[in-house]
Structures are given as structure tokens and as C-alpha cells.
Symmetry: C2
DNA sequence: ACAGCATACATTGCATACAAAGCATCCCTC
DNA sequence: GAGGGATGCTTTGTATGCAATGTATGCTGT
């Protein structure tokens, strides 16, 4: 299925920053590069549009970037949803429905995260961080919440790299993760929810501080072409 | 743009129950009925798939229905997101950023809702109820949360009709709405969030009680064709 | 009569052709 | 020299044709 392949390749490249926000994608150019006809490209672009990763802008689509304001909104939603999943995960743990191995995975991911941030490998840290949070969400066993968080993370994941750059923030992230794991392991639902929400909010602040300066001014309209 | 038209018409019909859950839609049949070619139909179906309103099932797509379990998950997410929007709306009210007219609209919608439920017009009540909740979400001025709630409501709206059928439930709904409006009007953020979440949870229970019985067993696989 | 295989049909996936629409550019006129 | 209009090109929207695939049905053999 070529549509699927095109979709995945474009999506991968967008969420990793391979396409600059505001960059224009035309059906023809994409189909030429990926060597398929326009039909599967069209469908892939439509799906990406549904995901909020590109948006139609007159002629064709441009890759979307969340403005500073929109990013804040996204983090607010993330805080809310991750509070839910953390809470649910803790409740499930209390009910004995969480396998100990899953909890161990969480701890292991966080330890790995500590190591790579120590080494200054922020790209790897970004990935591990996302994996950690996804694992927590999985423990809630709520497919709808999980899917929404997946979509949301696709949109904010670029900014999470920036959120690691302020000094001491990586250590704080690891510490907060550890707290979260403990709360879940103890089955403290409300506490876990609060920690998750607090962590997301702290990350939002760090992301805002971490990005050099263009916070919000550039909604993707100005990036056209090099001189 | 025919794609848009096809998408909207199919979506409208699905969320209002015009297509039975599990019913099969083929590109050809839809394109014949709506008198367009397969191309715009394809795109519309893909968008609906992204919305979770249909899902591909081997040959073509079938209109999706949330199982009882999935519905519970959806309501959990709804509770979380509506807590967020209610909380944010109240905070904005406290900051003086809400127009009094918007608050009045809320009250008016709720009064209307009381009237039509009194009259037993559940179809109208379903619509007004959704409008009320959407208005609250709009007051939060968070486009991302708003869009997620829109998508979520498309999936659960059918069940909200059932949630009104248990005796006394309509009165409780109106009363809970009134409480919510008061909390927002008073700028009581945390209280508003709690009321919204509690209301969503109560609605979930009522929906479960309101639907005759097939709760969960039928995930849409069995409805094929009449005898 | 039942099981297995082959064939025919329904349906999707992809490509290509065609039409329409928007935008930029260039020329002509004032 | 500047402004307006016409023309041409780029790009999307829609239709249709063709190939591939999976399913159902019917036939044949045991």
C-alpha cells in the first residue's frame, strides 16, 4: 500500500523537523520525489491534514507549526490527558491489573533517559522521553486517550527537544518521572494524576524558555525560500 | 469542492444514526447515490476513517460504533477534557475576559434544553445539549481542546440521546448544567472543573443505563444484512 | 453428500488524462 | 513610468481505466 508508505515517510520527516515549518508541499513535487503517482500522495496529504501536521494554504499545503500560543494550548491538553492516563494507570495498579514487568520497563526507560541526557544526546533523549510517556499512557488501557495523546505528541515532539535545553531541566525531568513511577507503583491515583499534570506544565514552561526567541511570532507564514 | 460535500453528508448521516453501525459502505455505492465519481468518495471515506467514524474492514469500510467499553473510555476522556475547558473558562471569567453575553447564551441554551426535555423531544434535546457543552468549551479559547472535543462528540453523540432516557435524568442534567454555569460565572475554576467532570461521568452512567441492553457485545461485526 | 479447487465477480489501489481555477508575469496603454 | 488587463503556467479537483486481490459460488471428484 503506497498511500501508507507515503504517509509514514512524510509524517516521519515532518515530526523530526526534516521539513521546515511553513515549507510548501505540492502533490507533484512529493510524487516526483517518492516516485509514485499523485493519487496516493493526495491521500497521504489529506491524512496529515487531519492530523494537524500540515494545513492547506491556498496553493497546496504547508507543514504546520504550532505558534507559541497554540503550543501552550497543546500542553494544557497534554497535561489534562496525561493526568487522566496516569490516574487510571495507578488505579489499575491498585486493582492488580498491571504487570510488574511493565512498571520495570518504565523505570528502565527513565534510567536510560538519565544516561543519554547526561551524555548530552538530546535527540535520543527526546525519543526516550516520548517512549516513557507513551508507556505510561498504555498502562491506562484507554485506546481513545492513547490515540489522542499520540496525535498530540506528533505535534509537540519538536518542542520537547527544546524543553530539555534549560540548565538543570533534564535532571528535573528524570526526577519528576521517578516520582510519577512511584505514585503509579503505589496505586496513588490522584497523586499520580497531579504529578503528571504538573510535569506537563513544567515541560511547557521549559519549552517556552528553551526555544531561542521567536516564540509565537512565526506561525509558519514567513518561511518561504532562501535568498 | 465535492469531496467536502460528500464528507459532510456522510458524516452528518453517520452521527445522526442514519447509517446503522456495522453497515458497509463501498466507494461505488456511495458514488452512485451521491452522483459523483469514486475519487471524492475515497477521500471523504479516508477522512471519516481518520475521525474514527468508519473503519476499514477488509472489503471497504463499515460505519464504526463504539462498544460499551470504548464508550466508557471515550467518556473518561470527555470528562478530562471538559474539566479542562470548564476550568479554563472559569479562570478566564475571573480575569474578565469573558463577555457577559456569552454567559447569557449558556443560560439560555440550558433553559431551552429544560423546555424540550419537558416536552419529551429527545432529538432536539440531544442537539441543544451538545451545543451547550460546545459553548462552554469555546469559552476556554483553546482551539486544540475544542477540536478534540468536537471529534469526540461526533463519536458519542448518539449515546447522549440514550443518556437522557432514564427517569429524572433530564432534570438532573439541567441542574448540573446550571451549577456549571454558576461556577464559571463566579470564576471558580477548580469547582467548575469538578462539576464538568462529574457531569460527564454521570452522563456516562446514564448512557450505559439508558441503552436497552446490547452493552458492548456488538462491536459492529455482526450487523450484515437483513434476512 | 461433502470437500476441495477453480473460476468469476465485486471492490479496492494506483495511474493517468482532462478540466477548472488561481496566480504571476508581461505587455500595452495612458 | 505606472497601472491594468490579458495570457500562460502551475497546481489542484475530478473522472475513468486498468490491474491486483480477496471472496463467494459453483462444479467436480471421491
Amino acid at each position: 500500500m503506497q498511500t501508507e508508505s507515503v504517509y509514514r515517510r512524510l509524517r516521519e520527516r515532518i515530526v523530526t523537523g526534516g521539513y521546515a515549518p511553513g515549507e510548501r508541499l505540492t502533490e507533484l513535487s512529493v510524487s516526483a520525489v517518492l516516485e509514485v503517482s499523485r493519487t496516493p500522495v493526495r491521500e497521504a496529504l489529506r491524512r496529515l491534514e487531519g492530523d494537524g501536521l500540515v494545513r492547506s494554504a491556498g496553493r497546496g499545503v504547508i507543514v504546520a507549526a504550532l505558534s507559541g500560543e497554540a503550543l501552550a494550548h497543546a500542553y494544557a491538553v497534554r497535561a489534562s490527558l496525561e493526568a487522566l492516563t496516569a490516574e487510571t494507570a495507578a488505579a489499575r495498579q491498585r486493582a492488580g491489573r498491571i504487570a510488574p514487568a511493565d512498571l520495570a520497563d518504565l523505570t528502565r526507560d527513565n534510567t536510560l533517559l538519565a544516561e543519554v541526557t547526561q551524555a548530552g544526546d538530546y535527540d535520543q533523549a527526546m525519543l526516550l522521553n516520548r517512549r516513557f510517556h507513551r508507556r505510561v499512557a498504555e498502562l491506562a488501557a484507554n485506546p481513545i486517550a492513547l490515540e489522542m495523546l499520540d496525535r498530540l505528541w506528533d505535534q509537540i515532539v519538536v518542542s520537547t527537544r527544546a524543553s530539555l535545553t534549560p540548565p538543570q531541566r533534564p535532571d528535573a525531568v528524570v526526577a519528576e518521572h521517578r516520582l510519577l513511577v512511584c505514585a503509579i507503583a503505589d496505586g496513588e491515583a490522584e497523586l499520580a494524576g497531579r504529578i503528571a499534570a504538573g510535569h506537563a506544565r513544567a515541560t511547557a514552561l521549559a519549552a517556552e524558555a528553551g526555544v531561542p526567541d521567536d516564540s509565537g511570532a512565526n506561525s509558519g507564514a514567513t518561511v518561504k525560500k532562501g535568498p
